[in-house]
């Protein structure tokens, strides 16, 4: 087991959590989501996002609608479903517990 492996595992869970969190502040299309994540230095490449969004949508946590764009093809705006909100709440709880636990151990 090397550190890359662990990092991949850790980042995975966090990314979904972050996407859901970003969407609580309003509907967004992938490019917006990625901008926010890039700002927080969480994701480097955009491609990462699409499989994740599709996955979350298939799980029923997200829905989307099409919106026309002035510059290019229509955009997919993602929105949290009630299930998604519930799921996020659980995740937030877990996250807080985790941070507390990790801080406690590492400090």
């Amino acid at each position: 087991m090397n550190s890359e492996n662990t990092q991949a595992q850790m980042r995975k869970g966090i990314l979904e959590f972050c996407i859901l969190s970003i969407l609580t502040k309003g509907d967004a299309y992938p490019t917006e989501i990625i901008e926010k994540m890039k700002g927080a230095k969480l994701v480097v490449v955009e491609g990462t996002l699409y499989p994740l969004l599709t996955r979350l949508k298939n799980l029923g946590l997200l829905t989307y609608r099409w919106e026309e764009s002035t510059t290019g093809p229509p955009r997919k705006y993602y929105k949290l479903t009630p299930v998604g909100r519930q799921f996020l709440k659980e995740l937030e709880g877990t996250w807080e517990d985790l941070v507390k636990a990790v801080n406690k151990i590492t400090n």
Partner: protein, 589 residues
Amino acid sequence: MNKTVNINLSGIIFHIEEEAYGKLYNYLSTIKGYFSESEGRDEIMADIENRIAEMLSERITDKKQVVIMTDVAHVIEVMGKPEEFVETAPEGEKTQNEQTTYRTTNKKRRVFRDSDNKILGGVCSGIANYFNIDPLWLRLALVVSFFALGTGFLLYIVLWIVIPEAKTSAEKLEMRGEDVNFSNIGKKVEEEMNSFGKRAGKWGEEVKNSASETSSKARDFIDQLLHFIGAILGGFFRVFIKIVGVFFVIIGLVFLVAMASSMFGETGIIHLDGDTYSIQDGYHMFFNNESQNLLASITLLLVVGVPLIMLIYGGIKMLLGIRKSTKYVGLSAFILWIIGIVLALILGNQVAAEFSDEATSKTVVELQQPKSGTLYLDVKDYKDEQYGQSRKKGHFRFRAKKHNLITVDDENINFGFPDLNIVRGESENFELVIFSESKGSGRKEALELAKKISYEINQKDSLVELNSFYSVVKTEKWRGQSVHVELRVPKGKSVFIGRSMKNILYDVNNESDTWDGDMVNRLWIMGDNELRCVDCDGLDKPKKKKGKKDLESRIEKEINEALEEKTDQVKKKIVTETTISVQDVDSKK
């Protein structure tokens, strides 16, 4: 000036330079290869294409209407390499119950080379991961197969090329995914179909939402049904592909092993009279030197070996479902094969040059003249009994209808059959002339080879026995050596052609135009130019029994007489050098 092509990305038309198109196309295909259909590949691809279209349209202005390489490079940089974003595709965690169906379909285990636990290329450890076994056993098997003519080594190299290395952490996780064995292939197909059904259902919902007419329900059902049928067919197709893959690998391996062992060992497929030979055992007959031998081996390896390796390669890819294509493998295999063909032409040319000239060595055999004026002709075969008793490795023969065509013994290769022609002779005596012919790179070489052909004739009083074979020393090259014998019969004298002469008579002219095969077992007298049958009552009818009996008893008598007069027995072994000088040789060409 660059050529452009038109592409349609998410409904927007782009003019794109050909080179840039190639790059974009490869990029999209690679990404596609990373997702399975059940992961929602089509949807992900549509999203990605959508985004790319958006990015590209931002980079296009009225002044710059064409998408060029740098645009594509920019897009790829922003989107990231496929490896980078599959890294974050979900894998492994087992927290949510709802995720179960999703995870099992997604957690498909794939074969990668395990570079963390490698000894050479990580092939064994990678395969061991795939089947969840200890790599030690595979390594042991591999080492053992190294000794089986190195076939294991070849297979290892092929696998090394075929199986991609687990580079990113995602790939490393995939490498250790869910167990894959034959018992749960069926389970997998079922799961795949379920997820298809689910997806179809979701898709159906979308259709329903967007078009809320009553008819959509029916359409929905038909769509679902079509998807379901597609899923079933897809599942079967996948299993079928795997079976074909196994088949390819087995066929390829069998032939490769057979070829390798035929070339380098003595356990191959070439069996002659119960012994096994290597292809190389026959090289010396055709080729002049080591470099030609080597050329022959390389040619064979390339022309036959490369396609076999590609068959195994393709089979493994089908079997393990490796979609990532290493495009240079096919191309380099093709180039190697072409090189093989070119080498074959070069070698063929060199060998053909060895056959470019021909020469004939003529030997006159003095015959003891028969008192009765009739010469009895018969054939002496290669001694079968002797061959059977003394047979050992290196001895073998090819036979057709019980006749020995090629017999190989300790010293010689004996070829059947020489040709015999019977013509009118000008002198008072019977004369026998042997023409030994050979091809060679030049006249001198051809003549030398021709002279080295040995052909024996025995005379016992009036009985002349011609060997049904001529011999070339084993260590000599084979250059199309042949022997033609001409018997010159004076006018008025006769010959009796023995029954077993059938094989060596060759286009003998006679007054009745009788076919060679029908000339045997009959007495012939020399007319003005040609032979005339003495005891044929019309050749179409079977011969009278009485006459036949007469003739047979006559031969028997003659032979007995000949045997009694042992003292007079003359045995002539004709070796060309002893009876003829080079000056006497008349050479063709």
